[in-house]
């Protein structure tokens, strides 16, 4: 009887979860809805289907500039954040030094600092070292904002690789560097790509910190912010927003799939410590998936 009641409770909980998801997605999905609406106002009733707002996106040089800026900054910042995420979490797990553990702890600290304070602290720093608001400043800021994410992803990935694989490589005479490059990196490649993609997304969407660090060349979120003041450009912002949402959904979905695929390749088949050949098999396992 109690299981029947638990299942009944589960059903009500299921209804709640569906309602929650509707609340989560509905406001965001209004942006695509009204981006196709043939009216300058986002209001009901809908006035008919149009693609004219998307047409205004093309040939807009300020928008194209901001998009290119965001893509370049996102790619560089994601590379930096992923590199830091890999090295920080690897040394945290295998470096066996208090310094490595401290760095790893500080690297996850930005979660506990409001974005506005990250922004102003970097603003002071970049002015002190003579850089000033610039694209390099934005890259530094975005490395910092994405760092906790890349560290957490890479740390859980490295931790999921059976310890015996690394030990086997070292026992067979591979140096630390060879072990890292030939064994640990290939085994964590899906997580590395996933971390890179998510870091790119964080940079691409980031507004709170970039607001303080941008010079004369805005990123896409800053461009949107500057357009929000003009009621007339509302539909264009919604068309642009819809495009950004679509790209974000695709990248986030791909990153998520990669992360789980990578985990299932080694984790459910723990290596047998008596067989040093496991390293090679581990590599092949990933390539074959």
């Amino acid at each position: 009887m109690s299981t029947a009641r638990a299942q009944g409770g589960g059903r009500w909980l299921g209804v709640y979860v569906v309602a929650y998801l509707v609340f989560l997605y509905l406001p965001v999905l209004l942006i695509p809805l009204f981006s196709f609406n043939n009216s300058i106002q986002a209001a009901f009733p809908l006035q008919g289907f149009t693609l004219q707002w998307y047409a205004t996106l093309f040939g807009n040089s300020a928008l194209t500039g901001a998009l290119l800026n965001s893509l370049v900054i996102g790619a560089i910042a994601a590379t930096g954040a992923t590199l830091c995420g890999i090295t920080v979490s690897y040394m945290d797990l295998y470096g066996r030094s208090p310094l490595a553990a401290t760095i790893s702890a500080i690297a996850r600290l930005p979660i506990l600092i409001p974005g506005v304070i990250v922004g102003i602290s970097l603003l002071i720093l970049i002015n002190l070292i003579g850089l000033g608001p610039s694209r390099i400043a934005i890259v530094l800021g975005h490395i910092l904002v994405a760092l906790p994410t890349t560290v957490v992803i890479m740390r859980s990935r490295f931790a999921a690789i059976p310890k015996t694989i690394r030990e086997a490589a070292l026992d067979l005479g591979a140096s630390d560097w060879t072990t890292f490059r030939r064994v640990m990196l290939p085994l964590s490649l899906p997580a590395i790509i996933s971390a890179f993609m998510l870091a790119f997304l964080i940079s691409f969407d980031e507004f709170i910190v970039v607001f303080f660090l941008a010079g004369t060349e805005p990123t896409l979120p800053l461009y949107i912010w500057s357009q929000l003041r003009f009621p007339k450009s509302l539909p264009t912002v919604m068309a642009l927003g819809t495009s950004i949402l679509a790209v974000s959904f695709i990248i986030a979905a791909a990153a998520e799939i990669l992360r789980h695929r990578g985990l299932s390749a080694t984790a459910p088949k723990p290596a047998d410590p008596s067989q040093p050949k496991q390293t090679k098999r581990g590599e092949l396992q990933w390539h074959s998936t």
Binding site: A42, I120, L125, S175, D205, I208, F212, P221
Partner: protein, 294 residues
């Protein structure tokens, strides 16, 4: 590990080079961009504003103003209340979702986890902007209410209120809260719950006495990751809040913008960090009381 037992001199050197190269990027970013930059904020907070980058002289006048001017008390208190309401709303609404994910989702778990985390990776600015078009005078909510005959004319009452800030922030940070709670619930040993029901506890009793206390570390972690970014937010008050919901982040941003008083902005930032530190310590203390398993 055993490879380290017999090592010749060049190998040790290459191993040290490896360690150095691996520690360098993280050390640069954490020590320069995080610790040194935060140190600069602290330093600047004790300086006079003379228009130069690092100010002049040493003073505590900035902090005296923060503490003595009622304006900053009002705004700080408002920020804390808004952040607390957002945190409460987010955690309370997220808990049942996390519970369902941990105990009832079955084969749908992967898909649901994906769906609740997906908004996390979409633009925060767009999520806030969505609420602006919902709540605006000639916006979605007003027009929908009129269209359906519930109201005869649009109302200004939605936008530019603290309530709009709370709703918007609660929605923007909703995905942050589910994962920590879910992880905490998922790691509760099933045998504990079975033992409770074997000993005659009714489902609600076993939830209240076993599941809830054991999931508290996750609830506290969720509360922190929602509270910290909301207490310093300046985007949402600017877009949907209006002048009646100025938050502390708005004031900090203004000091580094229009007001151009960086030392005072730094002092406000230090005050916010102290408030957050106090909240973290309370959370830590609560975590200990619930016997954290982490």
């Amino acid at each position: 590990m055993s490879a380290l037992v017999a090592t010749s001199a060049p190998e040790v050197r290459s191993s040290q080079g490896f360690r150095f190269a691996m520690l360098l990027p993280g050390a640069l970013v954490t020590f320069l961009l995080i610790l040194f930059a935060l140190g600069l904020v602290l330093f600047l907070a004790f300086r006079n504003n003379d228009g130069s980058l690092l100010g002049a002289g040493f003073t505590v006048a900035n902090f005296v103003t923060v503490v003595s001017d009622p304006l900053y008390w009002t705004v700080t208190l408002r920020s804390l209340i808004i952040a607390a309401l957002v945190t409460l709303a987010t955690v309370v609404t997220a808990y049942p979702v996390a519970y369902y994910l941990a105990f009832h989702a079955g084969r749908r778990r992967g898909l649901l986890l994906f769906l609740v985390t997906l908004p996390f990776w979409t633009s925060y600015l767009l999520r806030v902007f969505a609420w602006k078009i919902v709540l605006a005078y000639n916006g979605v909510l007003n027009s929908a209410l009129i269209e359906s005959g519930i109201w005869s004319e649009p109302t200004l009452a939605f936008l530019n209120t603290p309530a709009a800030v709370v709703i918007t922030l609660a929605h923007a940070y909703a995905p942050f809260a589910i994962l920590p709670i879910y992880v905490a619930l998922d790691t509760i040993p099933k045998s504990l719950i079975e033992a409770a029901s074997d000993l005659g506890a009714r489902p609600f009793t076993s939830f209240r006495r076993v599941v809830l206390p054991n999931s508290m570390p996750g609830v506290l972690a969720a509360a922190l990751v929602v509270f910290v970014p909301t207490v310093g937010d300046y985007v949402t008050p600017a877009l949907v809040g209006g002048p009646a919901s100025t938050m502390i982040g708005t004031l900090i941003q203004a000091q580094f913008g229009k007001a151009n008083d960086w030392p005072f902005g730094a002092a406000l930032s230090v005050a916010v960090m102290l408030v957050i530190l106090a909240v973290v310590l309370v959370a830590r203390f609560a975590d200990r009381r619930f016997g954290s398993r982490t």
